[in-house]
């Protein structure tokens, strides 16, 4: 499965360093996984994906002592934290009105190629808009599978569903997407 080796084969050493509270261990994990976690939260429509990403990694550091497993398990564990933080944010949002977006809320990360960054942002927004029109469970499954690169079983674990339910949601999600794209001619 692509995307599972983001630690150049050094996951065990990185995990040990992070569990010992060493900056280099925490940094390696953050550099490896924060882009996908932030992408997941952004495409899920999180109001403040950057802050939420930081919360996820702070929670990860706090609880890393209780983790045991390989890189794939670790990735699944981090996405479990991310998904639950997302649900927490949604619950909070239902209790109080959403604040007006900040100037930098839809930020374009400054890169060397401004045009490329802008195009990426537009593309991400198109994908996010498509995801928004899926059912929430379908969206969860597709994003965990595509972006998180989780297996069916790992996604089922994150979402507290059976693997069979995840496979069914995945199939229906893809079919719904195909209909949306075909019917509305969404440029991708």
């Amino acid at each position: 499965m692509p995307g599972h080796d983001r630690f150049d084969g050094e996951f065990d050493a990185v995990l040990a360093a992070a569990r010992a509270g060493e900056a280099r261990g925490v940094e390696r994990i953050f550099l490896a996984l924060s882009p996908v976690v932030e992408g997941y939260l952004r495409l899920q429509g999180a109001a403040e994906p950057q802050d939420l990403t930081s919360e996820v990694f702070l929670a990860m550091v706090r609880n890393i002592g209780s983790f045991e497993g390989d890189e794939a398990s670790f990735r699944s564990w981090v996405f479990t934290i991310a998904h639950r933080r997302l649900l927490d944010e949604r619950r909070r949002a239902t209790r109080r009105p959403a604040p007006a977006p900040l100037d930098e809320a839809y930020h374009h990360r400054a890169g060397d190629d401004v045009e490329r960054s802008a195009l990426d942002a537009v593309a991400t927004e198109q994908v996010r808009a498509l995801c928004e029109r899926l059912g929430p469970n379908q969206r969860d499954v597709l994003l965990l599978r595509l972006l998180g690169q989780l297996t069916v079983e790992e996604a089922a674990d994150v979402l507290d569903k059976s693997p069979g339910a995840v496979k069914a949601l995945q199939r229906r999600g893809f079919r719904a997407l195909a209909r949306l794209i075909e019917r509305e001619g969404v440029p991708l």
């Binding site: 692509p2 509270g21 060493e22 900056a23 925490v26 940094e27 924060s34 882009p35 996908v36 976690v37 932030e38 992408g39 952004r42 403040e48 950057q50 802050d51 930081s54 919360e55 990694f57 702070l58 929670a59 550091v61 706090r62 002592g65 209780s66 045991e68 497993g69 398990s73 479990t80 934290i81 639950r84 649900l87 619950r91 900040l102 100037d103 990360r109 990426d120 593309a123 991400t124 994908v127 059912g135 929430p136 469970n137 379908q138 969860d140 597709l142 994003l143 595509l146 972006l147 979402l159 995945q170 199939r171 893809f174 079919r175 719904a176 195909a178 209909r179 794209i181 075909e182 969404v186």
Partner: protein
């Protein structure tokens, strides 16, 4: 009879998706042309996770720079919430920066408003000295619809307040059960010629006798040397319990393949399910 070409399907035909195609879409392998749009979607989704890392919040930035104090010899994994607490998320940082940029007059106005709110709040909570407390309460009662009873609780009834029936039978009115109708002879002065009780002797059977201070300063009830834990709330308001366990959103994780302890997460039930 219409020609076969006249038939236009109401719904666009959705290409069948088999398991191999879905696996190929997920893993980024080539798929048949009829699934090109889905492949493009999957590619865009993956690209959303390939950017640079997001800027970390201050607490996380500190961790990334310095590591944790526990790295200096204490047991691994023992990381406290205080080590990783972040009190300034991006929105608050933005507001602080905004406040720093406003004019001096606006800052003075904000300061005066905050001070006034503090005094009013303290008065409402009964935290001021008696004289100041009474003044603040009177002021609040003048400018707001809230009233303070004799016990200082907002909304409490004064003795002259009308009762529930609106006839003036408040707390000072005759009690329907007859309480207060019989007055002790000590109080009326019939017993010893002096109205009112002298207050020197209180029966041991009277309520609260165990908490009553004695004349001997060394023989009073035991006093807990530890001050009560307060969280800044006004007196009379319950203090929420302090929990020190892990946050409920962090799943436990045992050995590989063993699902962790799943907390009470609310999965979004959808009709697509």
């Amino acid at each position: 009879m219409s020609d076969p070409g006249d038939h236009v399907p109401q719904m666009p035909a959705t290409p069948l998706l088999d398991d191999d195609t879905i696996d190929a879409l997920v893993e980024g392998r080539p798929v048949a042309d009829q699934h090109a749009s889905l492949a493009a979607f999957a590619c865009r989704v993956r690209a959303a996770g390939e950017g640079p890392p997001p800027p970390p919040a201050p607490a996380l930035a500190r961790l990334l720079r310095d590591g944790l104090p526990s790295a200096n010899g204490s047991r691994p994994g023992a990381i406290s919430a205080a080590d990783t607490a972040d009190h300034y998320p991006a929105r608050r940082r933005h507001l602080v920066a905004k406040a720093a940029g406003i004019g001096i007059a606006a800052k003075i106005g904000l300061g005066v408003t905050a001070a006034a709110a503090t005094v009013v709040g303290a008065g409402a909570g009964g935290l001021l000295p008696d004289r100041a407390d009474r003044m603040v309460r009177d002021a609040i009662e003048v400018v707001t619809p809230f009233g303070f009873g004799d016990d200082g609780v907002p909304g409490g009834r004064r003795s002259e307040d009308p009762g529930p029936d609106g006839t003036g039978s408040g707390t000072s009115g005759a009690d329907p059960d007859g309480f207060g109708e019989d007055v002790s002879s000590d109080a009326t002065g019939e017993s010893d010629g002096e109205p009112g009780v002298d207050g020197q002797d209180i029966a041991d059977e009277a309520p609260g006798a165990t908490n009553r201070p004695s004349d001997d300063p060394g023989s009073g009830p035991p006093v807990d040397p530890a001050p009560p834990v307060t969280t800044g709330g006004p007196p009379g308001f319950p203090t929420p319990p302090v929990t020190t366990g892990p946050p409920p959103d962090v799943p436990g994780r045992g050995a590989p393949g063993v699902p962790g302890t799943v907390g009470t997460s609310t999965t979004l039930a959808g009709s697509e399910g």
